[in-house]
Symmetry: C2
Subunit: 282 residues, 2 copies
């Protein structure tokens, strides 16, 4: 929720000279994005997002993310499209950081999630999984099951400051989840952070997905499990809304049918996903 | 540099139903504005700024600021124009705060100030002073000379944590400035916070002025003194750039000629202005 790197008119002018996107109209730092600095850039040719990758981004991984967004866009999936400068490169340098301009996506994230939103998400998620199938890049999911024990150890008994016996409970859960974790399910590129903040709607229609900086190769059904957790619990009563979950699964299944093994694995994938996000919330 | 109040799609939809500005395309919290929360709002009719007035704003004073922006806009001065809802009122309620939509101004504030920028500012400032002359509203400058002693007392000896004898030096300066402070100079509506952040340029041309929430009635020459301080010192060498100052004064004078008394008062007004902003920097 911050602009970590201030970009002034003096930095921006020479930077934009390498592009063919017209004259600057305005630049506004926006509060979205926890990891990186994001600006909304207007030129006489339109609106763009300018992202500066801050220190938690690994520069070596950035081409994977940008290539993926380009690949998905080329397949008709609505996500930010990296804009290449005149020399063909989209990944640039600005204010001592790696930086990229992408197209601007219309839409807003939704606060009050309805079953219709869940169905829209299920459908788009399946389309994204299919669109990524012939993507050449590969990135291991560094925050999957093997990473959880070291993460839990780094937190240690401090977890008990949140709730009594939290550490022991998480450890027990980790052991159970690990022992049931599937070893072979259909896999490919997943977004891996499809929380409501990263999904835009225009009216009732899903208009686009943003923030691909956790994308990686993993089980498709794991992504579905993350979304069941993130989208289908009722925020105030903490109850699982089976209508929402059913709509999401049906819509997904209509585009990319789930195998019996995938369906069978969903409960353990959902437990693992809950643990994964619990372990990285600080 | 923050969004203090989160506006969701659920809040925004019913709010915009009262307006005639089209369908929502997007809403992005922007980092500009220290006092209030600002969003950049896109609809299918264009771009707007949505401002929520936070607790440091006095709701009773908001009509003065909005009426002033409307008045100056109607005179052809480029500043945000409050957008009225269908019932004619621009000042509304949103998320428990007073709120207003204004038009979006193209341009960017400048970091590296040139003499040309200073001349542009001088000219626009004079045009703004003239445009405000028949404005009916009145708001006392609550941060002028009479306010400085109570402000200094509220800081007290803590000022010495910044530099040795700071308190005594400020007190001495306050007494001197107060004894020479003019009692009668041409006056009217001034912006009172014309720092580079609040002035937009497109290329070399000043494209607009924002953030009128310190506007008040005071000496025109006091505004000029604030700008001489804020725009004409070289940031790294801390030297007064007389070329910049001369260009600003000439350009101002060409639009609204300064009287001998105003010119004579500039040094004490500049000393007072330096003290005023020093007293409110925390």
């Amino acid at each position: 929720m911050a602009v970590y790197t201030e970009v002034t008119d003096d930095d921006l002018e020479p930077f934009l000279n390498d592009y063919d996107i017209g004259e600057i109209h305005s630049l506004h730092g926006i509060t979205e994005g926890v990891e990186n600095t994001n600006y909304l850039l207007h030129t006489d040719k339109g609106q763009y997002i300018l992202t500066l990758y801050e220190k938690r981004s690994n520069p070596a991984e950035l081409p994977y993310f940008l290539d993926l967004m380009e690949h998905l866009s080329s397949k008709g999936f609505n996500c930010p499209l990296p804009v290449a400068a005149r020399d063909g490169a989209a990944l640039r340098d600005l204010c001592g950081k790696k930086a990229c301009i992408t197209t601007f996506l219309k839409g807003m994230s939704v606060k009050k999630i309805t079953p219709d939103h869940c169905a829209e998400l299920g459908r788009s998620m399946a389309l994204m999984h299919l669109a990524g199938q012939d993507f050449k890049g590969f990135r291991k999911n560094g925050l999957s099951v093997d990473a959880w024990e070291p993460l839990l150890e780094s937190i240690g008994k401090e977890a008990d400051n949140i709730a009594p016996d939290m550490y022991d409970e998480m450890y027990k859960e980790l052991v159970t989840v690990r022992s049931y974790w599937p070893s072979d399910l259909p896999q490919g590129v997943i977004h891996a952070d499809l929380f409501p903040d990263n999904v835009f709607f225009l009216g009732k229609k899903l208009s686009g997905v943003i923030d691909f900086y956790f994308a990686c190769n993993d089980f498709f059904a794991y992504e579905l499990a993350v979304c069941l957790n993130a989208w289908c619990f009722e925020p105030e009563i903490w109850e699982f809304n089976t209508t929402k979950a059913a709509r999401m699964l049906e819509a997904y299944n209509a585009v990319r049918p789930l195998s019996a093994e995938e369906k069978h694995a969903l409960p353990v994938l959902a437990r693992g996903s809950a643990l994964r996000f619990l372990l990285t919330r600080t």
